[in-house]
Amino acid sequence: MSKIVDFMEERLPLTELAAFAKKKTVPLHRYAFWYYWGGISLLCFIVQVFTGILLLVYFKPGPDAYDSVRQITYDIHFGWLIRSAHAWSATLFLLSAFIHMFSVYFMKGYRKPRELGWWSGITLLLLGLLFGFSGYLLPMDELSFFATRVGLAIPDAIPVVGHAISNILRGGLEVSEITVQRFFALHVVVLPLLYLPIIGFHLYLVQLHGNALPPSEEEKPAIDRKSIAFFPNFVIKDLGMWLITLNVIALLASLFPQQLGKVADPLASAPAGIHPEWYFMSQFSTLKIVGKLIPGGLGEAAGITLFIVGLLLWILIPFYDVKKKGGLIAKRATYFGIFVVVVMLVTTILGYTAI
């Protein structure tokens, strides 16, 4: 055993790593609970990779898509469980990523030197949304078919290039087996290729700069700040959170398994109450509301422009809210954050009540 350790130590910077882990601390304060959410979304991503690979063993893109998912759900041992875990973990992944992003925002974790962490994080969330969107169509049942058709209205509304983008995604004017093939390529090849290096970079930045302190803690003199050792104390707590998350996924997947609807029929009329998944509900319902206020194509363009502007402001916030003692500017940034949360919640609720 010690020979193997020696062998590794001569070839890898193990001693430095151990020293780094020993030295590293994580701040402990009343908002420390929010530090766990990035880790929770990471676990959900790992579950997605694991269950995704298992689904890949049986899933067939293209014309056989529905039938292969039917097989996974009804014929293959525990296929339903893997599929349900994949679906529930997707939801928890996005939910925890949203919570992580907002907690970073309100703790002002985007300030210097953590801007790159903020941007890479937003990129990961946007890619995560694309993961969700592309994965949702793959079973090709009635619900996923019509929800995708409706969901493609969002990129379609982008001025000038919108139609081109949605046509490329669809592979034609209608959602079809060609769309499944494209979404599949996106879901299992393109997006993971983009996602993995960025997540590596994102984690590297966290190690480099450490956890950001919320302003209320930063004001305190260094001697009054509490912290715990990263290893083993924080890691144990983090693993505890992972265990809880794993339990939640398992409970949800066992008690509320993902169902499979009828095979998609493009000629049939859409079933009542078709709507996108919850993480697109806010955008979807904003488009509808703006569309009502300003009828026609102009309204759609106005709606989508609104998001793009909002997203840009969100991305650029580290350039606006710069100073440690930010005063009014820092307050305004916080109010903007609260405004965004309220708008997202209200539009989501309006979206669901309108069904």
Binding site: T73, H77, I236, G240, N247, A250, L251, S254, L255, P257
Partner: protein, 458 residues
Amino acid sequence: MNYPVWEVPIIGGAWVIGIIAIFHVMISQFAVGGGLYLAMAERKALKEGHRDWLPVIKQHSKFFLLLTAIFGTVSGVGIWFAIGLVQPEATSTLIHNFVFGWAIEWVFFLIELTSAAVYYYTWDRIPEKLHLKVGWVYAISSVCTLVIINGILTFMLTPGSTWLGIVGSGHESAYFWNAFFNPTYWPSLFLRVLVCTSLAGVWALVSFSRLDEEAYGEARTRMVKWSATWLAPSFILTPVFFAWYILMVPQENKHLLELGMSTIGSGAFTQVTRLGLVSIITTATISGVVYFFAFKYPKDFTFGHAVSIVFLALCATASTEYAREAVRKPYVIGSHMYSNSVRVSEIPAFNKNGYLTTSMWRPNGLDATPVAVGQIVFRGQCMSCHTLDGYRSMRRFLADRDEKAIGNILKMLREHKEDSPYRAYMPPLVGSDEEVAALQAYLMSLKSAGTPQGLAMK
């Protein structure tokens, strides 16, 4: 149908039993394991000279007494009320078969409750050795209550071929021991003992994590660590005894478990498997959390951790007990009485002469419209599992089915063929042709109107 029917809206009668029973099992199994825990902890403290443990154990015994003697007993009596109302035929069978068993069970209850009170109130008042003896009296009598009730509970799943051979002959009580030491008795007893010791450890963790770090210091840490070891036997042995238990469960019941591996179908088909999964994941998590948080780092163990473990233990108990009940489907007493109180032996007569012929609850004369007759058949044969609008809702089930489809399902349930998908978890439909037609008329009336015509109006 010799007894009145108790209609529980939304959750259904079975869940009334279920909710009370899960609560009761959680407490009573703690009462059994906790008794052993108190005696062993006191013995260890006296033998190894941990005098500082004694006030801590005393504190824990107060919590223990309150929880088991009040909530345990109240919920235990609650089960009797619930099963008497929801499953009177099966309850009657259990009482008639196990008169002696119940009597001795109550003797042990009395000893258990008395000694628990004596144990708590004599702390520091009688010699230490005598006090420890009281603790052992409690521990042994509470284990005895498990030893007895386990025979009756396992009997319901596997009455055993000897008892099934003589049932109805009037000599059932002469075969008491055959029914008592039935095929699943031993694996179930060992499994339950493991659960009891684990729960003792879990509740002790709750008690000791609340202790003040400053005041108790070393004693707190050591007792948290020692309590964690109470879960060790079940980490190692549960898989073994569980495999033994499954081996003794009849093939037709195991079929329910296998069904859920390959398909989700509609909910009811696969409940057992899905609940089994919940039970496995929560149990595995408890092992992990107790090992890492309580055993490896007892100093950092908090009340919050302990409460999380209790919550997980509640999930594990609930899902396991539910799965154990569900695996008995379609019977309430294995191979003898179906879950709707119809005895297997009565079926030919019911089909020949009619289900309601001997019933005290049949509408007469002008009241005997098909819908009214159908409602009585429904209450007798369907309502022990189905509700109108809540759990296993009939209205939801009927919503997208027309008269022909309903007729086909009733036909399938009545024929009860070997390859029928319902056979694994639903009893056969019994009765005369007129009664089945009446049931169909009643089901159709459920579809069309909010309130069914017939007796419900009166």
